[in-house]
Structures are given as structure tokens and as C-alpha cells.
């Protein structure tokens, strides 16, 4: 009860110190007078009476201090005093202060930025209410890509019925192509991307609209009026943030579509579910309309009931799986999801793990690297402070002699550290803020949740934490060193060549060796990641990404009363042939062709075609990815064909033909034992039979790093494509080509949208962007570490030269040449560097094993990375040592001897 009251009183006293001090003075004066008076009454002389009164009172200053301490916040008083002193002394030593703050700002800034990324992806929950209840439901990854990670509409219904763990289950159509929405405002249609989601999508995720409403069940029913929900970004960009947008209708894909709502800024579909892409709008998926029988098209996302754990949901999903049919019309397709490769085919994983789980290891490595940078910065600063402390030995000795306690001096030095690290943290925060703002706008970066990056309370807390930790780290050593010094020696010590100076120098050398070793570890790590990245770039993708670009082609192949689709297929063939021949005629175009899907984007599969006349074993799983293409596509992509390409004669009425890739051909040959192991000319069983007319290179369709899977290419005139991506190979820059090609396309089809021209290289870059991102960050941190280490080396050597000016002067006077002096300084530098490199290389061997899982085609002991690191540090160390060495050799013996 009295404790808070007292605390309040103390704070109050602290704030009004002068009047309270005056009050105490008056009280003490009264005390002495009263005591003197009584002593006089006892018969003492006035002078003796007063003396006795003072003696009985005790040490006046001690009493006042005790009073203040009891009364107010003595520690804070001292701290403020130290603070004033610190600011005065730091502003006197401006150069040192600036360097110290800069070092800390870099170290702390990098730490805050990486922490924010880590916090965003790993620590913070997903931006949905109770997001820990959200799960992603999919089989373990398999060969057949997205098709094997999705479910049919029938399967979705059955899962919803038979699973008991979920409040509700939702999903979205996984196969929308970019630019699938043409917004017609008069003039050329504007391409946009929309994703079909099941009507309960936002209810399951817990997303509320910023404006209007989100989907209701009736929006996804047959015959429902077309509605659309806009993303915040598209609403701002395309509709000028129109506050009255809700209720307005626009011509989208030829249908009057009503805008019913706008999503909040905090929900970005692409950031969560397809990083690096752009999703402008969401539309309701009609579960009972045309896509019903299109096979595996829906990804599943569920929200667990309160109290249900993941451990309970997994067996629940396994018991629901046998009820799920690919298509209820085909009973033999029921239970097909139950098991794949001996593992459950319907497995819930936390949505967060699905989104950011793969990045965990990279992020942890990055976090460690940036911690290493801060450590180097601290060691460096410790070194600088030691040098500064050495110059201030006498000042502190004097203060000690005048009665300051050791504790007080350590406290003073720690206050300095704290001031420096706070200033560094503030600048670092600004730096991190800039970095994060830049990162947030890297939309091409295929990292999830990037657009949600921001500095939050956690990041600020982290900043305070590392600022204090850093201050302790770099301030304690010089502080203790200072306080333990011998008073007498320090006062006598003239600095140069004395014992104290030598001891300092040894300590500083140890610090520099530590720095070099740390930098070495960082460089080896970055080197290994860089080598991995270069290896990834070197991977033969199965196509030639340079000098090719793709554009989305709009076409209308609908034919009335087209019963089996053959009329549409024929019409499609005519349109595509016209497009390709017209585009091929453009000067500078070497090849052109169409595919519905491009590599490294979406994919799908249609089951496993098997060689005719060969029995299919039961234990075969997976199926090839399907692409529907036109003649010329392979040539445009730069993929070589063994056998023949598709031709325009492979139409709806002729023999169905396919191209398959080498891996698939090889796999089938294991069972079919084709003559000469050649698949060309062989038949596959797929209803009517498919003739393999060519075998093509393996294309990396998921990533450069993974294995190329199985692929099969159908003719666009014999199968239904899911859109049309026109690929053009040309040495002309895409920008030059774009306008001509688009004009041609619009000439053929006036409804053609002003689609974006995407270089094929950008698909590869996009796929490699996470690795590139991590590699670049690791390399920057390593570079920063190296720079800091170089500054450290320079500092120590340069300080050593300054300290030994006299000695060097004498040696030169005795006949040492400039070269000998230079050599001796450089030798000292090299000695430090070599010890540091040796220690660092040993540590790197341990560390590199820990990051082995992040490497691609690179051994953790990669000699090139190690050798390059050693050489780089050696060169940098020599450069850092050369400047003081040069200065040493320019010392004028006469001047040096006369000084000091």
C-alpha cells in the first residue's frame, strides 16, 4: 500500500530537486543551530559548541546524499549526470562518434530488417483471425504438380461431408492463368487476373470487406448474376479508389459484372497463396457449373473447430479420404485420394507451414548471418573504444584520484556505450525502414507475405533489445579494462611504449583476429550460396529463356451446336494458325507457337497414359504434366525434338498425336521395352490411343533446382487448351516487338486485351528469385562483415604505428629503409589476418555443414568458395594494412624524435 505511494513520492521528488534540496539545507541549518544552542547552554564556548554540533551531525555531504537517495531517484540522477558528460565528450570527439554510430547503424539496421522479415514470415501469425486454426489440405508433394495437390468438386463435397474436424472447408480454383480477366471500358480491353474462390472462402479465412460485401452462397450458384470483389491495389490503380464503386457494373470478359465489395489492404491473395504474382480480383467459383467435371481443380483450406488439434485432424482426414471420388459418376474413381506412395493422400498441414515452412531454414541462416555482422560491428567498436579509452587513461585516473569509485567509472563508460548504441539504433531503424519499404515493393519477388512487411512493435522491441545487448557487448570490455588499470601507473604513463599500451595492443589484436574470423565465416557462407546460385543459373532448363517472350492471346473458338467439340477444335486450329503465321511474318521473328501453360507457372495432369499392349503394374503413381500446344511452340521455346513436331494436319479428325519428354519416355520404356528404346512411333493407351510422334527435352517445370518431371504435349486441335500463351522467339527486344505483335493480334481479334509481354527469362528469374534474394542478402552481409573487419585491421595497425612513431623514427635514424619499415608493418598485418583466417576457416567448416541443405550442387567444403574467401580477406587485410604502413615509412625521424 505504501510502496506505490512512496514510488510516486520519489518520482515527484526527483522532478523537483532544487526546492527540496533548499528545504533540506534549511532543516540541517536549523539542526546545527539547535545543537549549538544546547551545547552553549551546557557551558561550551560558541566555537566549540558549533564544532561539536557538526561532529555529532556527521558528514554533511554524506547525509545529503543519503537523503536524496531515500527521497528521490539517485540512480537516475547519476545517470543523467553521466549522460550530460557523455554527450559533451562525444560531441568533442566527433569523428569517433560518427564512425561508431555508422557502424552500429549498419549492424543494427540490418538486424532489424532481417528480424522484420523473419517476424513477418515465421514468428507472427498469418494475417487472419485465429490463423492457427487454418490448415492446408493436400497430399505430400508428388511428380504431377498442382493437379496432385488439388481435388475435384465431388471430392470437395465429400470431404466436407465426411470430415468432422472442421468448422468449414473452402478452396479456390488453382488453374487460373494470369490476365484471365479482360476489363472492357471501351477501347482495348484491360487484362487483369482474377481467381475463382468457393463462396465461403472469406468466411473460412475470416476476412472482412473494406467496403461492400464479400461472397454469399448464392453468388456461386447456377444462374447467379456475375459479381466480383476487387483487391485494394486494383481498386486504387484501376478505379482511382472510387468510394462509390460498390454496386457499379463493368463489362468483364463480355459479361456485365457487378462490383460487390473491395478487399481490405491487409488481405492480398497473391501475397499469401501465390507469392510474386498479382491477383487483382476474386470471383465466386460455381461448384455446380461447368468446372464440375474438369477433374482436380480445387485446393482445400479448412478451419479447424475450436479445441480440435492437428493431431486429431490428420486421422480424421484419412478416414474421410476413402469417401472422396474424383468423379461420382465413376465409382472406380472413389477412394483414389486415399493413399499415394504409401502416404495419406489427404493431409492437413498448418496453413502457415505450407506458406512459409520452406523458407524457415534460409531465414534462420540469414538471421544468424546478420547477427554475425552485428557481432563484428560490436567487436570493432569495442576496439575503437579501447583505443579511445587508452587515450583517456589519464582522465579516468584523475577522476579516480578525485574520489570517483570504479563502479562509477564503469557506469560512465557503459553510459557512453548506451548513448552510442541508442543513436546507432535510431539510425538503424531509419535504415531498416527504408530497406523494408523497398522490399515491400518488390512484387516480382516470389516470397510470401512480402507486401505485408512493416516495422511493428515487435521490431521496435527487438531494436531496444539488440541496442542494449550491443552496448553491453562493446562497452563492457573497455569499461572493465579501464577500471582495472593501476592509478599510479596511469598517471605516470606517458602513453607510447609503456606497459599499459602494450597490454592494450594485445587485447586489440585479439579482437581484430576475432573480427577476421567472423568475417571469414560469413564470406564462406555467402560464397557457398553464391556458387549454388550460379549453379542454378547454369541448369539446362530444357528451353532457352533468352530472346523469347510470351503474350496472352484472347480468342473465341465457340461454335453453335458443336456436339463433340470438334468444330470448335477446328476453328481454334484456324485461328491459331492465322495468329502464328501472321506473327511469324513480322520481321525479326524467328519462331512462334502457342501453349496453354508455360513452364515454371501453373500445371496440371490428366492421368497416366500407358503403352498399348503392356500391363500396367498397380504400384505406379504420378502422372505427366499436360500442355496443350500448337506446331512451332517447341521451336519458339528452344526445346529440341527427336522425331517430328506437331503439324497443322494433326486436327480433330486425324490420329491423336502427342509429344512426350525424355524422362517420361525412359520411364515408359522400362515397362514397354521399345525397340532401340525409342518411343517415337509407339502408341499410348488413352481411350482412342495416342501416337507418340516425338520425344522432347526435359523441361524444368517447377523450378530450376528440382528434377524435371514427366511431361506430355497434346495438339491444340485435338484437346481443349486452357487459354493461349503465344511464345515468340526473336532477337528484337520485347519492347520493340510488343507493339507490332499486339497490333497484329488486335487486327485478328478486336477483343484482344492489351496483354503484357513477358520475357521467358523473367519466368526463370521469378522462379529463382527466392534463392537470389537470400544469396544477395547473405552476400551483402558478408561484404559488410568484410568491410568492418577491414576497418578493424586498419584501426589496430594504424594505432600501433602512431604509438610506435618514436621507435620507428629511431630505427629509421639508425638506417632502416622505408621498405623495411613498410614490410614490418605489413608483416604484422598479415600475421593478424592469417590467424583470423585460420580460425575462421576452421569455424566455417562447421558452419557450412549446417547450411548444406540450402546448397545446390555445391559441397559444403567447396574449395573455390574457401580459397576465394582466403584470398579476398588476405587482399583486403593487406590493403587495410598498407595505408598505415605507408604512413609509417614516411615518418620523418627528426620530427618523430623531437615529438613526445
Amino acid at each position: 500500500m505504501s510502496a506505490p505511494r512512496r514510488a510516486f513520492a520519489r518520482l515527484f521528488s526527483f522532478l523537483r530537486k532544487p526546492p527540496l534540496d533548499a528545504d533540506l539545507e534549511a532543516e540541517i541549518a536549523a539542526h546545527i543551530e539547535l545543537a549549538t544552542q544546547q551545547n552553549i547552554e551546557r557551558g561550551l564556548t560558541p566555537v566549540e559548541a558549533r564544532r561539536q554540533a557538526l561532529v555529532r551531525f556527521g558528514g554533511m555531504d554524506l547525509v545529503k546524499d543519503q537523503h536524496r537517495e531515500a527521497r528521490g531517484l539517485m540512480k537516475l540522477d547519476i545517470f543523467l549526470q553521466d549522460l550530460r558528460y557523455t554527450i559533451r565528450s562525444l560531441s568533442r570527439d566527433r569523428g569517433f562518434t560518427l564512425i561508431a554510430i555508422l557502424l552500429l547503424a549498419l549492424g543494427i539496421g540490418a538486424n532489424i530488417a532481417v528480424f522484420s522479415v523473419v517476424n513477418n514470415l515465421l514468428l507472427r501469425p498469418l494475417p487472419f483471425p485465429d490463423s492457427d486454426k487454418l490448415v492446408w489440405i493436400a497430399p505430400p508433394p508428388t511428380k504431377c504438380g498442382l493437379s496432385c495437390a488439388t481435388y475435384s468438386t465431388d471430392a470437395y463435397d465429400e470431404f466436407r461431408t465426411y470430415s468432422r474436424s472442421y468448422q468449414d472447408v473452402t478452396g479456390y480454383f488453382a488453374f487460373s492463368t494470369p490476365g484471365n480477366l479482360a476489363l472492357n471500358l471501351g477501347g482495348a480491353p484491360i487484362p487483369a487476373t482474377s481467381i475463382d474462390v468457393i463462396a465461403n472462402f472469406f468466411n473460412v479465412l475470416g476476412v472482412q470487406p473494406a467496403m461492400g460485401r464479400l461472397f454469399r452462397p448464392e453468388d456461386g450458384k447456377n444462374g447467379a448474376a456475375p459479381v466480383i470483389v476487387l483487391s485494394d491495389a486494383w481498386w486504387r490503380r484501376q478505379f482511382n479508389a472510387d468510394p462509390n464503386i460498390v454496386g457499379k457494373a463493368f463489362d468483364m470478359n463480355g459479361q456485365q459484372t457487378t462490383v460487390i465489395g473491395v478487399l481490405p489492404q491487409t488481405f492480398d491473395f497473391a501475397a499469401v497463396f501465390s507469392p510474386g504474382a498479382k491477383v487483382d480480383a476474386l470471383t465466386p467459383l460455381n461448384l455446380y457449373g461447368p468446372p464440375r467435371d474438369e477433374g482436380n481443380i480445387i485446393t482445400l483450406i479448412g478451419r479447424l473447430k475450436p479445441g480440435v488439434t492437428l493431431g486429431q485432424a490428420i486421422p480424421d482426414a484419412a478416414q474421410a479420404a476413402p469417401h472422396m471420388c474424383w468423379n461420382n459418376k465413376y465409382p472406380q474413381s472413389c477412394g483414389g485420394y486415399a493413399e499415394k506412395n504409401g502416404e495419406g493422400g489427404v493431409v492437413p498441414v498448418p496453413l502457415k507451414d505450407y506458406i512459409s515452412g520452406k523458407l524457415r531454414r534460409s531465414l534462420v541462416v540469414l538471421w544468424s548471418a546478420v547477427g554475425g555482422v552485428l557481432l563484428i560491428a560490436c567487436v570493432n567498436l569495442s576496439n575503437l573504444l579501447l583505443a579511445r579509452a587508452a587515450a583517456r587513461t589519464k582522465e579516468f585516473a584523475m577522476r579516480t584520484a578525485l574520489g570517483a569509485s570504479r563502479l562509477r567509472i564503469v557506469r560512465q563508460l557503459l553510459t557512453e556505450s548506451l548513448v552510442l548504441s541508442s543513436a546507432g539504433a535510431i539510425c538503424g531503424l531509419a535504415l531498416a525502414g527504408t530497406l523494408i519499404a523497398w522490399l515491400r515493393h518488390q512484387q516480382a519477388l516470389a516470397l510470401p507475405l512480402v507486401s505485408l512487411l512493416h516495422l511493428d512493435g515487435a521490431a521496435l522491441g527487438w531494436t531496444v533489445l539488440i541496442a542494449i545487448a550491443a552496448a553491453g557487448l562493446f562497452g563492457l570490455l573497455p569499461g572493465l579494462r579501464m577500471a582495472s588499470g593501476n592509478l599510479q601507473d596511469s598517471l605516470k604513463d606517458s602513453g607510447a611504449g609503456s606497459g599499459q599500451g602494450r597490454k592494450h595492443e594485445r587485447l586489440r589484436s585479439i579482437l581484430v583476429v576475432t573480427e577476421v574470423a567472423l568475417a571469414c565465416v560469413l564470406l564462406v557462407g555467402a560464397g557457398l550460396l553464391l556458387r549454388s546460385f550460379l549453379h542454378v543459373l547454369d541448369v539446362d532448363m530444357g528451353f532457352e529463356p533468352q530472346h523469347a517472350a510470351a503474350v496472352n492471346v484472347d480468342y473465341d473458338d465457340s461454335v453453335p451446336n458443336d456436339k463433340d467439340g470438334s468444330l470448335g477444335a477446328a476453328r481454334r486450329g484456324v485461328i491459331f494458325q492465322q495468329v502464328i503465321s501472321r506473327v511469324s511474318a513480322i520481321p525479326g521473328v524467328q519462331a512462334a507457337g502457342i501453349s496453354d501453360y508455360l513452364p515454371l507457372g501453373q500445371n496440371r495432369s490428366w492421368g497416366l497414359p500407358w503403352p498399348k499392349g503392356v500391363k500396367q503394374p498397380d504400384n505406379i503413381h504420378g502422372s505427366p504434366l499436360v500442355y496443350v500446344i500448337t506446331p512451332g511452340y517447341m521451336r519458339a521455346m528452344g526445346t529440341s525434338i527427336q522425331g517430328r513436331d506437331l503439324t497443322w494436319d494433326d486436327g480433330p479428325k486425324s490420329q491423336a498425336v502427342v509429344l512426350i519428354n525424355r524422362s517420361f519416355a525412359k520411364f515408359l520404356d522400362n515397362y514397354a521395352h521399345w525397340p532401340n528404346h525409342s518411343a517415337v512411333g509407339q502408341m499410348l493407351n488413352d481411350g482412342s490411343g495416342l501416337l507418340i510422334v516425338g520425344v522432347v527435352d526435359d523441361v524444368h517445370e517447377e523450378s530450376a533446382e528440382g528434377d524435371a518431371g514427366w511431361q506430355i504435349y497434346y495438339s491444340a486441335m485435338q484437346s481443349g487448351p486452357n487459354g493461349a500463351q503465344l511464345v515468340i522467339r526473336s532477337t528484337l527486344p520485347p519492347a520493340v516487338l510488343a507493339s507490332t505483335v499486339l497490333r497484329t493480334l488486335r487486327d485478328i481479334n478486336p477483343k484482344q486485351a492489351m496483354a503484357e509481354f513477358r520475357p521467358i527469362q523473367s519466368l526463370v528469374d521469378h522462379a529463382n528469385s527466392p534463392r537470389q534474394f537470400f544469396m544477395l542478402l547473405a552476400a551483402s552481409f558478408a561484404g559488410l562483415g568484410l568491410l568492418l573487419a577491414a576497418i578493424g585491421i586498419y584501426g589496430v595497425i594504424s594505432y600501433g604505428v602512431t604509438q610506435r612513431t618514436q621507435e620507428i623514427g629511431i630505427r629509421m635514424a639508425l638506417g632502416a629503409t622505408m621498405a623495411t619499415v613498410q614490410r614490418s608493418v605489413l608483416a604484422k598485418t598479415l600475421r593478424l589476418a592469417i590467424i583470423g583466417i585460420a580460425a575462421g576457416a576452421a569455424a566455417s567448416l562447421l558452419v557450412s555443414r549446417a547450411i548444406a541443405a540450402l546448397l545446390f550442387d555445391t559441397a559444403p567444403t567447396d574449395p573455390i568458395a574457401f580459397a576465394a574467401t582466403v584470398i579476398l580477406i588476405g587482399i583486403v587485410a593487406l590493403l587495410a594494412g598498407y595505408i598505415p604502413a605507408r604512413r609509417a615509412s614516411r615518418i620523418n625521424p627528426m620530427v618523430a624524435l623531437r615529438n613526445n
Binding site: 505504501s2 505511494r5 512512496r6 513520492a9 520519489r10 521528488s13 528545504d23 533540506l24 534549511a26 532543516e27 540541517i28 536549523a30 539542526h31 543551530e33 539547535l34 545543537a35 544552542q37 544546547q38 555529532r56 551531525f57 556527521g58 558528514g59 554533511m60 554524506l62 547525509v63 543519503q66 537523503h67 537517495e69 531515500a70 527521497r71
Partner: protein, 117 residues
């Protein structure tokens, strides 16, 4: 200075001050200090100045109140008096001390008997 004098235990001075004020009513710092010295038979090692830290502590806790006034020979001095909360606290602390000294007395006397060789 008198080595045989008692060093004050932490917190005991506060209790002495409270008791003094309870017994004497309103009193200034010097008066309290003298009174404690007299009551303890000059057995306590007390720099009179020490009393002021104790006074401010007690005041901040609300156990004593202070007011400037005039002393018997008309000098300006700050007078302290115990509050109701202070009396309650005094009763509590005094009881505690009583128990502690009783226990200490018993324990120490026991050790004298038991320690006989």
C-alpha cells in the same frame, strides 16, 4: 569513534523514530536524534544527520507528517508528527521486534546451555 557502540540494523532507525514521535508527539529532527541517543543511553552509533534520510522515507510512506514551525526558543524548524497509519505501522513493527528479540533470546540462551562442554 566509539567502537563499542552498536551499529544500527537496517530498518531499526525508522522504528526508533516512529516510537520516539509516538511517545513525544510533534518534534524536530534534532530533538528526535537527541531523544534516541538519550533513550539508548548513548549506546547507539548514530550520526545525527542519518535521521533525515529516515524521516523522508517515513514521510513518503505516509507514516509521519511534517510542518515548519517554531522551536521552544523561537527558531524556525521542521516539526514531525506520527500519523494514524504510522501508529498502526509502529504497532505492527514493534510486535514483530518483540517476537524477534524473544526468539533470539531463547535461541541464544539455549546455545549457551547446550554448548557447555
Amino acid at each position: 569513534m566509539g567502537e563499542s557502540k552498536l551499529d544500527l540494523l537496517q530498518g531499526t532507525l525508522d522504528l526508533m523514530v516512529l516510537q520516539t514521535l509516538a511517545a513525544m508527539g510533534s518534534q524536530h529532527g534534532y530533538g528526535i536524534a537527541r531523544r534516541i541517543e538519550q533513550a539508548s543511553g548513548d549506546d547507539v552509533l548514530l550520526n545525527q544527520g542519518t535521521i533525515y534520510a529516515s524521516l523522508v522515507r517515513l514521510q513518503q510512506r505516509g507514516w509521519i507528517a511534517a510542518e515548519w514551525g517554531a522551536s521552544e526558543n523561537n527558531r524556525k524548524a521542521k516539526f514531525y508528527s506520527i500519523t494514524r497509519a504510522g501508529r498502526k505501522q509502529l504497532a505492527k513493527d514493534a510486535a514483530y521486534w518483540q517476537r524477534l528479540t524473544d526468539v533470539m533470546g531463547r535461541v541464544l540462551s539455549m546455545s549457551e546451555k547446550g554448548g557447555a562442554q
